[in-house]
């Protein structure tokens, strides 16, 4: 196993994982152990902000796995992200317990407000962290499986698939807006207090969540990397480049696609679950199709089919978003729009992909 990783890992991959593990340790330390007066101190809000970026990076990684390696452009990956987030949100809501405004020991505040008497079946067992963790992975996976099974078996490909994934997340957006769905409607779930007994707002909890996010990003990367460098990954690439030919060679294309789609959805779900406690809210707008499309541009900016690039793209674009929406709110949409256009026109391989080409050329040049 270890030899497999070592054999197949180039320097970029090793560097990426090492960096992630490093910041998972160093950032919490700088936040908690270094006094606030020190120049090296990282304030808690920054820890949460970067934790959010890393959760987005995991989502981008999941998207790159299906888009970059299998050619499935999903415009609905935000849905899996949001589903994972909702599962975590439900756990956090039930952790509030009697500490809510209406002090109902079982029902979350919004249900008391809606005059509900009983907990809906969908909310059962969400007070157990184990069950919640299971659901975070299971719900997006099952939906991805059912959706993918139907879509890939009927050979829905290309833009058609993009459109129906977009419709999927749009339908879920509309559904979660409804109060009778029992997921907080318009306002979503918020006002979280405790996670596994620790206060959500506390600096130590936030630092831990950050470390966990970095860790899961590293794990997700390792899993995705293992998938794409194996024989399985080679078949994925051949499906991406010539689907019909792969099918005629005797491979069950739809099985491969469904599997990679489900794995990717589960990763997106985990990303959502890590995102929610750090941001403190989850509401239906996470399902909006524009969020999913934005995630696609993170991957495109970083470089599709590079995994590392997807993660870097997510962090870069979101960092720019935070900065621009803060300093020049008018400019943000222009910037994002221009990014979409320029990257597709001039940087089809993304930052990491283009850098790789440059490095390759320099090496080739020195050899010749």
């Amino acid at each position: 196993m270890i030899t497999f990783f070592i054999r197949h890992f180039d320097r970029t991959a090793i560097g990426f994982v090492t960096t992630l593990l490093l910041i998972a340790v160093v950032v919490p330390l700088l936040n908690l152990a270094v006094p606030e007066s020190s120049a090296f101190h990282i304030p808690t809000y920054l820890v949460s902000l970067w934790g959010k970026y890393l959760a987005y990076a995991l989502l981008a990684l999941a998207l790159d796995l299906v888009w970059g390696y299998c050619g499935i452009l999903s415009l609905g990956h935000g849905a899996f992200f949001a589903l994972g987030g909702y599962a975590m949100g439900m756990y956090l809501m039930r952790q509030i317990g009697a500490r809510g405004v209406y002090a109902d020991p079982v029902l979350p505040d919004f249900m008391v407000f809606l005059n509900w008497k009983e907990l809906p079946i969908t909310w059962y067992f969400f007070d157990h962290i184990g069950y919640t963790l299971l659901m975070i992975v299971l719900v997006p996976s099952v939906i991805a499986f059912v959706f993918g099974w139907f879509a890939f078996r009927s050979r829905v490909t290309g833009v058609y698939l993009s459109i129906i994934t977009q419709s999927l997340t749009y339908a879920l957006l509309l559904a979660f807006f409804r109060n009778d769905m029992g997921f907080g409607g318009n306002n979503g779930l918020t006002d979280f207090k405790y996670i596994i007994g620790f206060p959500v707002q506390a600096a130590s909890t936030r630092a831990t969540l950050f470390a966990l996010t970095a860790l899961f990003l590293a794990l997700g990367f390792l899993l995705a990397r293992a998938m794409v460098v194996s024989r399985f990954g080679q078949i994925l690439a051949s499906i991406r480049d010539a689907e019909s030919r792969t099918r005629f060679l005797g491979y069950r294309v739809e099985h491969y696609k469904v599997l990679v789609f489900v794995v990717s959805a589960a990763m997106a779900g985990i990303a959502g679950a890590l995102y929610v406690p750090q941001v403190g809210i989850i509401n239906p707008s996470e399902f909006s199709p524009s969020n999913s499309i934005e995630a696609v541009i993170w991957v495109a900016v970083g470089g599709r089919g590079t995994l590392v690039g997807a993660a870097i793209g997510a962090v870069l674009v979101n960092f720019a978003k935070t900065w621009l929406t803060g300093s020049f709110p008018e400019l943000w949409l222009y910037g994002l729009g221009a990014l979409f256009i320029l990257v597709t026109l001039f940087l089809p391989k993304g930052i990491v992909g283009s850098l790789a080409v440059v490095v390759q050329r320099m090496k080739g040049g020195s050899a010749a």
Binding site: I164, L174, R178, I293, L333, Y334
Partner: protein
């Protein structure tokens, strides 16, 4: 008594010219004199006579009586009333007499007289000269079901010439009679049938109130039968109404999607900025209206016909610009085009937001777009009607362009086989550019129509883009008839699901159904066959 009045009235109608006036005045004095008494019972009868007389001064006289402003001269029983300024008016001629009358005695009023007066005044408008006023009065009686108006109704029904007004009168009478316990059975049965013919919600409620407790068995049976008929009719009506709304929504979807169908069909690319082309068209309409408002308010009704070609040009030019600067470098990479055009859509939204502000802009409706056409309970708003007609007109025009022009021929050739078309000497890049401009221009035209029914805001396009895609994919790419069928069936399905499942849930069900449908038929209703499919 009434009959004699009718005879007199009939004679009056028959007589012509100056003779009318003379005999009319004679008749008036005769009728009015019946009020010139101290006997309350006589006054009560006199009120009904005056009310039924159709005299020009009748309403004024009765109002004066109600306010105790009416008096009579004991000498010749001539009636006078005080007007607002306090001077006496001769009731018979409705003019100020040459000299102020003297020796007047007020006409006295008690509670019974007052009640008769109220009923009479209520039914007075039943005789108004304006047919619309008569209908309104009949409807008022229909609602109040005041038994006291029955006599007045009978009299006006007998002499009404206008068939429509007469129908309203008879319906009002039926409403009164149906629940009048002491009315003859035959009348009540006839009333039930009459209300059954009227067939609206109010009639249904009235018929529902008939039971064994207040009616004979025959009446109850007739009422039940009529109610059943109405329920059936109302169900049919709501179906027709739903179909109409569905058709209207379908034509909106058609307008929004048809441009997309062309660009998608010919170039195989998804233009995510298509919704923004629609938005540009809507804002063009807004600008045109603003200019007309300030420069030439008289032209306001022409604002839409003026805006249509302008919106086409604006959107087509922007489309051409996008095609020349971005899309042409991305042919053969549909997913990348999708992302780049999404970027374009974001920039266009922000540009419009910077130029016009984030708030909704007010686009007015010309006079011919407002108003309702009531077709026997089936309501057609003119705005919707125009949009349906407009949608169909755009569809037919586009079909004409594709089937009948040289550009259309080349477009069809490129759809069927791009390389073969190029080999035959068709300049495919030019066809692509013109097609994209055409599709964008049509989206601009759609924006003119949508500005009439939706909020004109920078987000206008966003709300239509997903639906438009679904229409195109559902109908099948590269086939305008498929788009038409897709748009109409989605519109109809949406409106028929709404009453059953609610607006949001209906939409979700529809999305789920379309997702499943695309799984069954990945290329839509009308799929292209042959080599063009696998590219």
């Amino acid at each position: 008594m009434l009959r004699r009045l009718f005879v007199i009235f009939g004679l009056v109608v028959l007589l012509a010219g100056g003779a009318v006036r003379a005999s009319y005045a004679d008749d008036a004095t005769l009728t009015l004199k019946r009020l010139a008494t101290d006997n309350y019972a006589d006054i009560e009868l006199g009120i009904a006579a005056v009310a039924a007389s159709g005299l020009p001064s009748a309403e004024a006289v009765l109002n004066a009586l109600a306010d105790s402003r009416l008096s009579y001269r004991s000498a010749d029983k001539a009636l006078f009333f005080k007007d607002a300024s306090g001077s006496w008016i001769d009731a018979a001629t409705n003019t100020m007499p040459a000299e102020q009358p003297s020796g007047l005695k007020p006409v006295k009023v008690n509670n019974r007289v007052r009640r008769a007066l109220e009923a009479a005044l209520g039914s007075m408008t039943l005789m108004a000269a304006d047919p619309q006023k008569r209908i309104a009065a009949a409807e008022a009686v229909f609602k109040s079901r005041d038994v006291n108006t029955l006599a007045a109704l009978e009299s006006v029904i007998a002499k009404e010439q206008d068939a429509v007004v007469k129908r309203h009168f008879e319906e009002a009478r039926a409403a009164v009679l149906l629940l009048k316990v002491d009315a003859p059975e035959s009348d009540r049965v006839a009333a039930a049938e009459r209300l059954g013919e009227r067939g609206d919600q109010d009639s249904l409620a009235l018929l529902g109130a008939v039971s064994e407790a207040n009616a004979s068995a025959n009446t109850v049976v007739a009422a039940k039968l009529a109610a059943k008929g109405i329920s059936r009719r109302l169900a049919l009506l709501s179906t027709v109404q739903n179909a109409w709304y569905g058709l209207s929504l379908g034509s909106v979807l058609l307008l929004a999607a048809i441009g997309l169908a062309i660009t998608f069909g010919v170039m195989g690319i998804i233009n995510m900025a298509h919704g923004e082309m629609v938005m540009l068209g809507a804002y063009t309409t807004f600008v045109v209206q603003e200019i007309i408002r300030t420069k030439a308010p008289g032209l306001f009704d022409w604002s839409l016909p003026i805006a249509i070609p302008l919106a086409f040009c604006v959107s087509a030019l922007v489309g051409l610009l996008i095609e020349r600067t971005i899309i042409r470098y991305l042919y053969g990479r549909p997913l990348e085009t999708l992302l780049a055009t999404w970027g374009v859509s974001l920039m266009l939204q922000q540009a419009v937001r910077s130029a016009f502000g984030a708030n909704n802009r007010e686009v007015g409706a010309p006079s011919y777009m407002s108003g309702v056409w009531d077709l026997n309970g089936f309501q057609i708003t003119y705005g919707r009607l125009w949009i349906i007609l407009f949608g169909l007109a755009v569809f037919v025009a586009l079909l004409g362009v594709i089937k009948g022009t040289s550009l259309g021929l080349k477009m069809r050739a490129v759809i069927q086989n791009r390389r073969m078309a190029a080999a035959m000497g068709i300049r495919t890049p030019l066809v692509d550019a013109l097609t994209f401009a055409l599709g964008s221009g049509v989206a601009g035209i759609a924006g003119v129509a949508l500005s009439q029914i939706d909020n004109v805001s920078p987000n206008l396009g966003q709300s239509y883009i997903i639906d438009s895609f679904l229409v195109v994919v559902f109908g099948g790419v590269g086939n305008l008839w498929g788009t038409l069928l897709g748009a109409l069936s989605l519109g109809l399905a949406n409106k028929f699901l709404e009453p059953i499942a609610g607006a949001v849930l209906g939409k979700i069900i529809l999305l789920a159904v379309i997702i499943l449908f695309i799984q069954r038929r990945p290329r839509g209703l009308f799929a292209l066959k042959g080599r063009a499919v696998e590219q």
